[in-house]
């Protein structure tokens, strides 16, 4: 009786010891708390940056309308930009930005798609050895260098060709075309590579030529991807500041043609923001331009998501 009691107690004590041992915090649990803390903090910093960026630019950007009581419609449709005199029609810059963006995308897309087809379908080997580095180098060139070349080569060239100052939408388009080309090409290559091999093989087996296969099968099934690529390129063009500002001439007037000085949202911002005083109408008006840039960037983002979702639905079915 005594004996068993003693044994039971001993057993109890042992299992109690294990109970404690398996429940207490150890170095590993503390490490995990620490790690969790650090990584949550870091992601928190990023979220805070994004949130405050959206908040500050929005609140600054709407001051034109809430404090200076400029009508939103006048801002968007007015063509007279002279903030010193209280005229803040932003249409010239809006038109300028959209014009260079669309023009650059329209010129760059055939080049990008052609290059991507070459890299994936015609000569993957040369594609990897020659074009891949070429594209990477083009991405690597800083935008001020593009701006400088635009200023030193494209602008004089346009001046010789059509007269005038040489500054204007055409020159900006030219510079942006080279800048967005690598973006669109890289992403198009990815989407062409993602087309299942058997699509291509089936088409070739039916006796289609390479071009028929490419145009009817590969490009068609890669269309959402190519569209996404073009939108990314457009987003880059829309937001590019210095290279455009250096070659477009920076005249805040409605562009009448493609070869006279014009301006974009970004170019107006870079030239203007340093010369205005915080809190005044001219300053607030510039922040409103920045807000348009921000909203457009969100719009491009949403568009890409929308296309991706559509693509998933289609593939799912």
């Amino acid at each position: 009786m005594e004996q068993t009691n003693f044994q039971l107690k001993k057993q109890d004590a042992q299992s109690h010891e294990w109970d404690v041992r398996l429940h207490r915090a150890t170095r590993a649990t503390r490490e995990d708390w620490l790690g969790r803390g650090i990584s949550y903090l870091c992601i928190g910093v990023i979220i805070l940056v994004v949130a405050s960026m959206l908040w500050f630019i929005t609140s600054k950007g709407i001051a034109t309308f809430t404090q200076n009581h400029v009508s939103l419609w006048k801002f968007l449709s007015g063509t007279n930009w002279a903030p010193d005199q209280g005229n803040i029609g932003a249409l010239p810059m809006i038109v300028g930005s959209f014009a260079v963006t669309f023009a650059a995308a329209i010129v760059a897309t055939p080049f990008a798609v052609g290059t991507a087809i070459f890299m994936t379908e015609i000569s993957p080997n040369k594609g990897r050895k020659v074009l891949q580095p070429v594209i990477e180098l083009l991405v690597g060139i800083p935008s001020v260098v593009y701006g400088f070349i635009g200023l030193a080569v494209v602008v004089p060239f346009m001046r010789h060709l059509v007269g005038g100052s040489g500054f204007g939408i055409i020159s900006a388009t030219f510079v942006l075309f080279v800048m967005v080309l690598p973006t669109i090409t890289t992403m198009t290559v990815d989407s062409l590579r993602a087309v299942p091999r058997h699509y291509k093989e089936a088409s070739l087996a039916l006796g289609a030529t390479r071009w028929q296969t490419v145009s009817r099968v590969i490009l068609r099934s890669a269309t959402p991807g190519i569209l996404t690529a073009v939108i990314f390129g457009m987003a880059r063009a829309f937001g590019e500041a210095l290279a455009v500002q250096m070659v477009i001439g920076n005249a805040a007037i409605m562009p009448k043609n493609l070869i006279s000085p014009a301006s974009t949202l970004t170019s107006q911002l870079t030239t203007g923001i340093g010369d205005t005083i915080d809190g005044t109408l001219p300053n607030n008006a510039l922040w409103s331009l920045a807000l348009i840039l921000l909203l457009m960037s969100l719009f491009f983002n949403a568009l890409v998501r929308f296309i991706a979702k559509r693509g998933q639905l289609k593939n799912g079915r």
């Binding site: 590993a28 995990d32 620490l34 790690g35 969790r36 990584s39 870091c42 992601i43 910093v45 990023i46 979220i47 940056v49 994004v50 949130a51 960026m53 500050f56 630019i57 600054k60 055939p110 080049f111 290059t115 087809i117 070459f118 015609i122 074009l131 070429v134 990477e136 690597g140 060139i141 800083p142 935008s143 001020v144 260098v145 701006g147 400088f148 070349i149 200023l151 030193a152 080569v153 080279v178 080309l181 090409t185 030529t209 071009w211 028929q212 490419v214 937001g239 590019e240 500041a241 210095l242 250096m246 970004t266 870079t270 923001i273 340093g274 920045a290 840039l293 960037s297 969100l298 983002n301």
Partner: protein, 295 residues
């Protein structure tokens, strides 16, 4: 027109396009190097700029570019490492995570001029720090964080699951597993990403014009105490970088030889960026061999 003929024509056109793309790059590089390199000399690389005309050497700007790069990396690497680990290891597959991912996506797609303006608003207007190295470095950090975070997350997630299981099954904490086991394997990819982003940061100007400023006060390169006003390390002095200098000389420069100056500065900038690209490749391959095979 037969299908064969169309095929032929299409092939010719595509080849022409490719030739044009390659030609553009060759032209760009050749133009910059030919126009710029003859004007690059030791005195140009180390000399000081005339504050009024913008003529003269680029010594201070070159230093500023590297100083800003180092500061930016010092701030952004730890943060994106933590954030990358969060996304690769701790984030659950739910709406909160996808919101976080969207936020990062948004940050990465914002034009750099917007990021720069935000930095201007925050540091120069609100906190009244003025145009300074530190304002510039933080603005560049904002611009750098999303790409670096994504690169780190991708590199970490690409490490096979079984490495994580190996660590966890030995009773290592998640954190220890990630830092001690996964990170070393992911290092080649991470380092490549960091060096590539360094090239981007080095060439960035739009985010800096209104944060680090457009003037390069001559500093006393014998004084390395960051607290001294004249020290090159003082984080509160304005610091025009090489990329900003090129922009400035071209748009507002009064120097008679502005074009030669900016060609030379562009050549230096391009060479620096090319070296970063090359360095990324070489370093990545080297580390990859170190990690995968026997040393």
């Amino acid at each position: 027109m037969g299908a064969k003929r169309t095929d032929f024509i299409a092939t010719v056109i595509i080849n022409l396009i490719v030739a044009a793309v390659v030609g553009i790059l060759i032209f760009l590089l050749a133009y910059i190097l030919i126009a710029g390199l003859p004007h690059v000399s030791w005195s140009f690389l180390t000399g000081t700029t005339d504050a009024f005309s913008g003529a003269g050497g680029i010594g201070v700007q070159l230093f500023n570019s590297f100083y800003l790069l180092v500061l930016t990396m010092l701030i952004s690497i730890p943060i994106s490492l933590g954030a990358g680990i969060y996304l690769a290891e701790y984030a659950k597959d739910n709406w909160r995570t996808s919101l976080i991912r969207s936020a990062i996506e948004v940050l990465s797609s914002l034009p750099s001029v917007v990021v720069g303006l935000f930095g201007f608003l925050l540091f120069v207007v609100k906190f009244k720090i003025g145009f300074s190295v530190i304002s510039g470095a933080i603005a560049l950090t904002f611009f750098n964080l999303p790409l670096l975070t994504r690169n780190i997350e991708e590199s970490l997630s690409a490490v096979p699951r079984n490495q994580r299981e190996a660590g966890l099954s030995l009773g290592l904490s998640k954190w220890k597993t990630e830092i001690g086991i996964i990170l070393p394997v992911a290092l080649p990819g991470i380092v490549t990403g960091i060096v590539l982003s360094a090239g981007r940061v080095f060439g960035e100007a739009a985010a800096l014009i209104y944060t680090a400023g457009q003037s390069a006060p001559v500093t006393n390169f014998a004084d390395w105490n960051p607290m001294d006003a004249a020290s090159p390390l003082n984080p509160f002095r304005p610091a025009e970088t090489l990329a900003v200098h090129i922009w400035k000389v071209n748009t507002e420069g009064l120097a008679s030889n502005a074009s030669q100056l900016s060609a030379a500065a562009s050549a230096v900038l391009i060479i620096a960026v090319l070296l970063f690209n090359l360095g990324a490749r070489v370093l990545g391959n080297f580390l990859y061999r170190r990690v995968t095979a026997s040393k």
